[in-house]
């Protein structure tokens, strides 16, 4: 099945109905393996057991940016190629991205308190991620405020693409500014500086959370397609002539 064939919502629904149970099962298995490895991972010589927060904080932080990337691609699909599923994909991804960003902020804060001595610091990394979270909420509010899905989609697509400027700022904030947040230790030039005992559980959890996002995103897209069918039927019903009493 090609990408253009998937542009048909009915074909997309048929495909998601078939693959969702498999994706959900694979996600659950990988999450279980990742959690087991996270529990079994040794303590860090400096951070002690608090290093275990990394196994959930980092995947959520990566996904908070990745989901905005997916929404940016979908926004291009809306504005440039007018793909019928593009704005469905963007709209369905926003609440999931907001949840991952919220978790990245809160788990980071809970990790920061014992390590830095503070829950929050207005440094470049933390502030730019907070802005990302607020942008997710703004997009969700925009989609809810505009009734016509196609008008909302265009406005949201422009806002998403403008907001994409924040993604490299988040990524490189630890290099460009003097921040309390540590610099990149997994994805960096010259390879990861993490020991394999921490790197492997972290990568397993990252793959598991990515699969979780794909599963939830496809399910949310399916809901959005059905919601648009419902809207179309409601409009059809409203346009039917009403027999007036004689």
């Amino acid at each position: 099945m090609s990408l253009s064939e998937l542009a048909n919502p009915t074909r997309f629904l048929s495909l998601t109905t078939r693959i969702l149970p498999w994706l959900a099962g694979l996600t659950a298995i990988l999450l279980a393996i990742g959690l087991y490895q996270s529990v079994q991972a040794p303590d860090d010589y400096q951070q002690g057991a608090t290093v275990k927060i990394m196994f959930i904080h980092v995947p959520n932080a990566w996904l908070s940016m990745f989901v905005w990337g997916v929404m940016s691609l979908a926004s291009l699909g809306t504005l440039v190629w007018r793909h019928p599923l593009a704005d469905v994909a963007a709209k369905a991804a926003a609440p999931i991205g907001a949840a991952f960003t919220f978790l990245a902020l809160v788990t980071g804060s809970l990790w920061g308190r014992p390590m830095w001595g503070t829950y929050w610091e207005w440094d470049a990394r933390l502030t730019s991620v907070l802005i990302l979270f607020l942008m997710y909420l703004g997009l969700i509010a925009l989609w809810r405020a505009v009734e016509d899905p196609s008008r909302a989609a265009r406005a949201a697509a422009v806002l998403t693409l403008v907001g994409a400027i924040n993604i490299p700022i988040i990524k490189f904030s630890v290099d460009w500014w003097n921040t309390l947040h540590q610099p990149a230790s997994v994805m960096k030039m010259g390879g990861s500086s993490l020991d394999r005992a921490f790197l492997i559980p972290l990568l397993v959890m990252a793959v598991a959370f990515s699969l979780l996002f794909i599963t939830l995103h496809l399910a949310a897209m399916r809901n959005e397609i059905l919601r648009r069918r419902l809207r179309a039927l409601q409009m059809l019903q409203a346009s039917k002539p009403v027999a007036l009493p004689q």
């Binding site: 057991a49 275990k52 978790l103 059905l226 419902l230 179309a232 039927l233 019903q237 039917k240």
Partner: protein
């Protein structure tokens, strides 16, 4: 396994992630059920798609 003096921070982090993921899953599942039920109601009242296919047909 001992979690040391900061056990509450670690346990709270994992519990919060579990709770938010569970809420996301439940929200999407309930939304699916609600939209499908409304589509069924609409079709039962005689409104159907132009194609004639059921709006809740996912196959």
């Amino acid at each position: 396994m001992t979690l040391g003096p900061y056990a509450s921070f670690i346990v709270t982090s994992y519990a919060l992630v579990a709770a938010v993921v569970a809420i996301l899953i439940a929200w999407i599942a309930l939304d699916h059920r609600r939209v499908k039920a409304r589509l069924h109601e609409m079709e039962a009242s005689g409104v159907s798609r132009r194609s004639g296919r059921s709006a809740t047909d996912l196959s």
